[in-house]
Amino acid sequence: MKFSPARSADRLRGDLALAVLAGLLVLLTLFSLTLGRYPVSLETILDILTKSGHASEAARDATARTVVLMVRLPRIVAAVLIGAGLSLSGLAYQTIFRNPMASPALLGVSAGAAFGASVALLLRLSTLLVQGAGFIGGLAAVTIALTANRAINARSIVTLVLCGMVVSALFQALISIVKYVADPVETLPTITFWLMGSLAKITVSDAVVLSGPILVCGLALYLNRWRIGLLALGEHEAATMGVDVRRMRMAVIFLATLMSAATVCVAGVIGWVGLLIPHLARASFGMEPGRLAISTALLGSIFLLAVDDLARSISVVEVPIGVLTALIGAPFFLLFLLRSRQGRWA
């Protein structure tokens, strides 16, 4: 390979931009830790985070420790993980289906997972079983959408989206049945509020439970980024380059669905992140798989954390985050489409 100063400078610029993005996420995390109804100064927060409990001055204010470590930090960690998880799963779906409109919400995965999880909530099952039911629901939804698309045998990118919408409508109807039979005093409001998407009730254990599937699946997708990238070239091309197309596609669907379902089970349905962020990352960081995956995860985390900060601070009563991502994401995506040139993904 010939040394090219221009390419090397590009690479450096790209790496620098990623570092800036990572720095931005750290700053936003610190800023988010200062937001809330309980007054805690940044100095106290840093004290709580850096010094061991009893030695520090701040530790004397046990409530401030509870607020920082048990209320704000789990929520921030969850927002970062969910943003990254939804964006990465959106990127994975878009890449393997070679479809810029693919996302967890549009393929019906979110509705499927929401149905599975709401049935588990109705039956008052444990958190782990809620996650399991959500995953099965999400997997069922994407399988139905793909099977329908294959049966129609259409090559149009719109057909897969339409199949996803049909599946989504089906699972929405099933969710309505669950809501109809739910106890209107306790279970119904719980399911309804949860479906709107919220990080308000995130606990330390929620954040821990969420981190497993997101980190493992995210890492697995990152390690296979080149093979997944080859799938984007087309089945035939990928096969000639030694990729077991069928197995790889199944594995990617499994990982992306598991990630999406995990986010739905903990925080409800949060739309638009998985669709919008991968496009933004492609437009800003290009198509190189490694950089694209990292920038997608970072942008997703920053976006969701910023929106969650808005959700918990614009009014006394929290606005569901799913409502805000839709309000911000939909017009932004429309603008993005209008400005993008035909033939390009972004």
Binding site: G36, R37, Y38, T66, R72, V316, V317
Partner: protein, 336 residues
């Protein structure tokens, strides 16, 4: 006038008399709607907050008139203790306030009672005699009972209840009014699962019982939702929850451990009799005495409260409760 004409006129007069007797009077309900109701009310359907409205009938000694049962999600054990016959009655409302209109019509009610204006209007339009009952301000209950007493032929009982309500207020005021603000602790009535204060009336009884309700912000709407941080910031000294599961949650969840009420073991479950005492219920005077007993235990002892409860249920519900039953009401709901 021929004999036959006279006979026809006499027959018509009789029919009119019978009709007048059957459709006795027009009542104006608490939304200003005019409703024709027979003089003798034998069949009453209660809709919406069924246990709350049933409680009014228990206190007026007219539980015999109830013709519908309790929806499972609203059912409380003591409704069946006070009115065992409710168990076999048809249920006419489902989830999300869905009403089985045809079932309601087939019950042939003399009067339908509801605290939901939309329901009153909807059923009124199809000709059912629906009376809307409003209980917004705490003292509305007296006007409500006066109207119901009039409709159900139990005005004396309604008057008795209003007198008891006023007399209890006076007794509690005599205990609480001398307390300086510094001796009135921060109190929070909360649904811990949803972080909501479900009923505005709690702000009233907490203040009357000598506490400072953390959610008393002069709002118009019934419920108030807040964040966990807001709750930690309030740091209530006394917390009142709706069931035993929530009390356990308060003591078990590490995020609540620094709240003064949790540290001081002052998380109390609201008693549950005909209805949850913390919400709107005919048992509100007892709520007030109970609240004093938990906020200022030195002013009202548990024994005094139990004696008052026994007397209340005897006098108004005509039900003699055992000591175990009194304790069960005070222990509150076991939760869902």
């Amino acid at each position: 006038m021929t004999d036959s004409t006279k006979r026809i006129i006499a027959a018509l007069a009789m029919v009119l008399c019978l009709v007048a007797q059957a459709w006795g009077r027009d009542f104006v309900d608490m939304a200003g709607r005019s409703v024709a109701i027979p003089d003798r009310v034998a069949r009453v359907v209660t809709l919406g907050a069924v246990p709350v409205i049933n409680g009014f009938l228990f206190a007026l000694g007219r539980r015999d008139a109830l013709v519908n049962g309790l929806p499972s999600e609203l059912a409380r054990k003591f409704q069946y203790v006070f009115a065992p016959e409710l168990a076999g009655k048809p249920i006419v409302q489902g989830a999300e306030k869905g009403l089985a209109v045809e079932d309601i019509v087939s019950l042939k009610p003399d009067v339908v009672l509801t605290m939901d204006l939309a329901t009153a209007r909807k059923l009124g339009e199809i000709g059912l005699p629906v009376v809307y009952l409003r209980w917004t301000a705490p003292e509305d209950v007296k006007a409500l009972m006066a109207l119901l007493g009039d409709i159900l032929g139990r005005s004396k009982e309604a008057g008795d209840y209003a007198a008891y309500f006023d007399e209890t207020m006076t007794r509690v005021s005599a205990l609480i009014d001398p307390l300086p603000p510094a001796l009135r602790p921060r109190v929070l009535y909360v649904n811990l699962r949803r972080l909501t204060q479900p009923h505005r009336i709690a702000d009233w009884w907490i203040a009357k019982a000598g506490g400072r309700s953390m959610t008393d912000d002069g709002r118009e709407q019934e419920s108030l939702t807040f964040s966990l941080e807001q709750m930690l910031n309030w740091d209530p000294e006394v917390m009142i929850v709706a069931d035993q599961g929530e009390a356990k949650m308060a003591y078990d969840d590490p995020r609540f451990q620094n709240i003064s009420a949790v540290r001081g073991r002052r998380v109390h479950v609201a008693p549950a009799g005909a209805h949850l005492w913390a919400n709107r219920t005919i048992e509100q005077p007892l709520t007030l005495l109970w609240a004093v007993s938990v906020i200022h235990p030195e002013l009202v002892s548990q024994e005094r409260l139990k004696a008052e409860m026994t007397a209340f249920y005897n006098r108004f519900f005509h039900k003699s409760l055992s000591r175990d039953q009194i304790d069960e009401i005070l222990a509150g709901s076991i939760g869902r």
